[in-house]
Subunit: 334 residues, 2 copies
């Protein structure tokens, strides 16, 4: 039985979507058990139709809620009866196998850092979502856990990202690239320039700099970035895709011919949309902490929550944390 | 007569595309005169069919060529017979009205800084392309001239971008935003946090932070960024659009129904592609130097070169440099 701890109050549509997502996940996977964490009365009301899986649901009363308006580190320190704090402590004690939240990113990071703790040797945990590139997915690490990075953080992001992609996607020798504004080693800002030689001597298959226009061109399986640029890239990808789809829709509806063509080609569009859809991918794991932690998109619907839970369970079963621990210790012995 | 100095050897397809672009521009605008700068023999060979506009073409023999492999500052110092160096000096002496190049960005920046010179009071010139957002265009400033920024550069980018958009696009009170990873003032990396209060007190309509997903959502007419993030955004936009269009094409060709729909909807697609097309927009002006300087895309075709020339002529005629000078001096008096 794999045991997921779910922050039931996290996300724009919580607790409705989180509870519905948990039920979807439980029905799809008989080896799953979920703790729903939140104000117990509110959660219980939503379990009316959960009889078929009720025996694999636990409730953890967490009357304190951390919102996006709370200062994360302070909130994690003070709100001891919040899902984030209680969940991270249970994960540390190995009483649950993974933690999932669509709530405050900052709180999940702070909880991961200060309640769960880092894997030995890891300088900074990092958010590492899989993003679509037309041919499949690439791992972008870091996407916002570390907005100001020192150069030595970046090769560690590469080690963790490579371990993740190897284990979860079966890519034996993942190509690791560095986000930069030019192809040559001497290009970039001070951080990228200092990180480049460290990436070259790191224990992975470094394929060099990846410019903006090549991020989705399948030049690398793992793309390493500071958390500021990575967050921009991740969110901008969503934005550009939306804008472009909107433009296509608008132009198609501009005349009858377009409307007809659009109707006929609708299934093809739907397939593209599905490939670009974050709700299929699940969420971003926080790599480098002593447990499986998934930050799901704030606007996750029930299906996206279910995907994040499925993904968390898979990571726990495959031993992601041990794999990262092993690779980091190898890197340090180098 | 507006006189454009064109780096005829700059760009992936030079000198063919540059010369063809110049001819296209000259034929479309009778008040235009162009100096083609490069090795004179090579250029002359391409003027066989230019009789109709030959009287408005001058040649400037520039046997030295600065490539993308040259270290820009060094190249500008040493290659005195290059188009960049000669053109910038002519622009400074007001013997030409604008400089256009699709060649090395670094050389254009270095030439602009050290041969042409900054407008008084400008800390750092910045690249400021117009990018499509589905509703029109926004100005992204800086896109790569300053990869490591101090906080005080950013409000100046805002002042210059606002002056540019006001003059060239007729937007009286442009909305100016700051690229960041969260909506709140206290979000971001050290640079964004320090820049925020400076943006608030700057003499323009500051609309706050713009997250990645809102960059193309028409929340601002001018989006201010450090040059590293800006360059990533600009190039990533191109990359994501290409990837997405490729995915749509692939899915459409995957079955007969899609193929038929795609054929019927082709004009609608073409309109979207045209809206996203950098060859229509021209190039990125370098704002803050003492003359009109346009850096066109390295992969510009003849039409893109012609657009960049047209844009450069318009900026010169509208008095862009004077407008920026005036706004900067106002900012400094504040």
């Amino acid at each position: 039985m794999t045991h997921i701890y779910l922050d039931a109050m996290g996300g724009d549509e919580a607790p409705n979507c989180t509870v519905m997502g948990a039920l979807e996940a439980l029905r799809a996977d008989k080896e799953l058990k979920i703790t729903l964490a939140g104000p117990i009365d509110e959660i219980e009301k939503l379990l009316g139709e959960a009889q078929d899986v009720r025996n694999r649901i636990e409730l953890d009363d967490c009357p304190e809620i951390i919102t996006n308006h709370d200062a994360p580190v302070m909130a994690v320190r003070q709100k001891k009866n919040s899902a984030v704090v209680k969940g991270m402590l249970l994960l540390r004690e190995k009483k649950v196998d993974a933690f999932v939240s669509a709530g405050s990113t900052g709180a999940t990071l702070a909880g991961g850092m200060f309640r769960l703790g880092r894997i030995e040797g890891v300088e900074r945990p990092a958010l590492a979502p899989l993003l679509p590139n037309g041919k499949g997915f690439f791992c972008l690490i870091d996407c916002g856990a570390n907005v100001d990075c020192l150069p030595q953080y970046l090769p560690q992001f590469g080690v963790m990202g490579a371990a993740y992609v190897r284990l979860m996607r079966g890519i034996e020798n993942p190509r690791v690239g560095l986000v930069n504004i030019g192809a040559e080693a001497e290009k970039g800002n001070a951080l990228a320039k200092a990180a480049y030689p460290l990436m070259e001597s790191a224990p992975f298959n470094f394929v060099g700099n990846i410019e903006g226009r090549d991020i989705t061109a399948d030049h690398a399986d793992v793309i390493v970035s500071d958390g500021f640029s990575g967050n921009l890239i991740m969110k901008f990808m969503e934005g550009v895709a939306d804008t472009l789809m909107g433009m296509i829709k608008k132009e198609m509806y501009a005349d009858l011919r377009g409307k007809i063509g659009g109707l006929i080609a609708k299934p093809a569009f739907r397939r593209v949309k599905k490939q670009m859809d974050y709700t299929e991918v699940g969420g971003a794991p926080l790599l480098g902490v002593k447990g499986v932690v998934i930050k799901a998109h704030g606007s996750s619907n029930a299906h996206a929550i279910a995907s994040a839970i499925r993904q968390a369970a898979l990571m726990a079963r495959k031993g992601l944390v041990d794999a990262i621990e092993k690779e980091i210790s190898k890197q340090l012995q180098q």
